[in-house]
Amino acid sequence: MSQSNQINVSKNTVPILAIVALAVVFAVGLFLVGFDQGHVFSIAFGEQAFEDSYIHELTHDMRHAAGFPCH
């Protein structure tokens, strides 16, 4: 009669792909909230995006409150 056993193994290997994915999330999120002045939407809407600065206006209060430079 066969018997199956299970053990919990703690592995130290950190998946590189997960680290890269998190690094991208970090960079994109930080730029959106902290530094975008219309850059992201300018890809689709051109110069008008810098005038509207939609993301800047939407994140305006958090930008000030979190210590990022603002106008």
């Binding site: 680290i19 970090f26 994109v28 206006e57 305006h60 430079p69």
Partner: protein, 242 residues
């Protein structure tokens, strides 16, 4: 390592902590933001750029309500973003962190990161309310602030690596080394180029509330990620054998 579980825990922790941060801002920081924007409005009326009319205030109230909603959304985005960095550092340093469980380890790391990438940069370039800050200098100020955070963060990693060479009390040499280095950077980096013209009571009150609200984020991320890690153990894999 269960990769999907690890990513899920990190992103959910960051988003929830960001929600806590955004909510804290609504309670603590918004009154100061409203007061500062009120000063800006008076300046607009005085300069003739805007008229003090009912239409102005209806539009203004709708706009501010939209921006306050954005505060929560931005909190979740920024929280997820900063949480991603926290997750990277936690998974890479977990075995070196003091503490006998994952909650304590995560809270200790949150405290360390709060000091290195938030509090020390805050001392050099403190948060400012609207009315402080010229539009022409926003890029320069952004570069200065981000550079200081990056220098502080990479210096901390560098001196931590250095500390591994030493044993016992000699490890303190690395800590002192970081303190000396960041003090030199603190003095060498240019000051914020903008003059503060707003009332200092408003500016100081805003800075204190901003500091408290950001601190709630770091406590929340340490607590939530630590609890989720402790409960779900993404680093453990079940191996079957006969």
């Amino acid at each position: 390592m269960k990769t999907f579980l690890f990513l899920t825990i990190v992103l959910i922790s960051g988003a929830l902590a960001g929600f806590v941060h955004g909510s804290s801002n609504l309670i603590l920081v918004e009154p100061y933001l409203d007061e500062a924007i009120g000063i800006e409005n008076q300046q607009l009326f005085a300069s003739g750029e805007e008229d003090d009319t009912l239409e102005f205030w209806v539009e203004y109230e709708a706009y501010r309500t939209w921006q306050k909603g954005g505060q929560i959304l931005a909190g979740v985005v920024l929280g997820t973003s900063t949480g991603a960095l926290f997750g990277i550092v936690f998974v890479l340093s977990r075995h070196s962190l003091p503490g006998n469980n994952d909650v304590k380890k995560a809270l200790i790391l949150a405290g360390i990161m709060w000091v290195i990438i938030y509090f020390i940069p805050f001392l050099k370039y403190p948060a400012n309310p609207p009315t402080v800050g010229e539009a022409e200098t926003v890029v320069l100020r952004g570069i200065l602030y981000l550079s200081f955070i990056a220098i502080s963060g990479f210096a901390a990693v560098g001196f931590y690596k250095l500390s591994k060479i030493f044993k016992g009390k000699k490890k303190l040499v690395a800590l002192i080394g970081y303190a000396v280095f960041i003090s030199a950077v603190f003095v060498a980096m240019p000051e914020n180029p903008d003059e503060i013209t707003a009332p200092m009571d408003l500016v100081n009150g805003f800075r204190i509330m901003s500091l408290i609200a950001v601190s709630t984020y770091w406590i929340a991320i340490g607590l939530i990620l630590g609890l989720l890690w402790y409960h779900f153990k993404p680093n453990k894999e079940v191996t079957s054998f006969n």
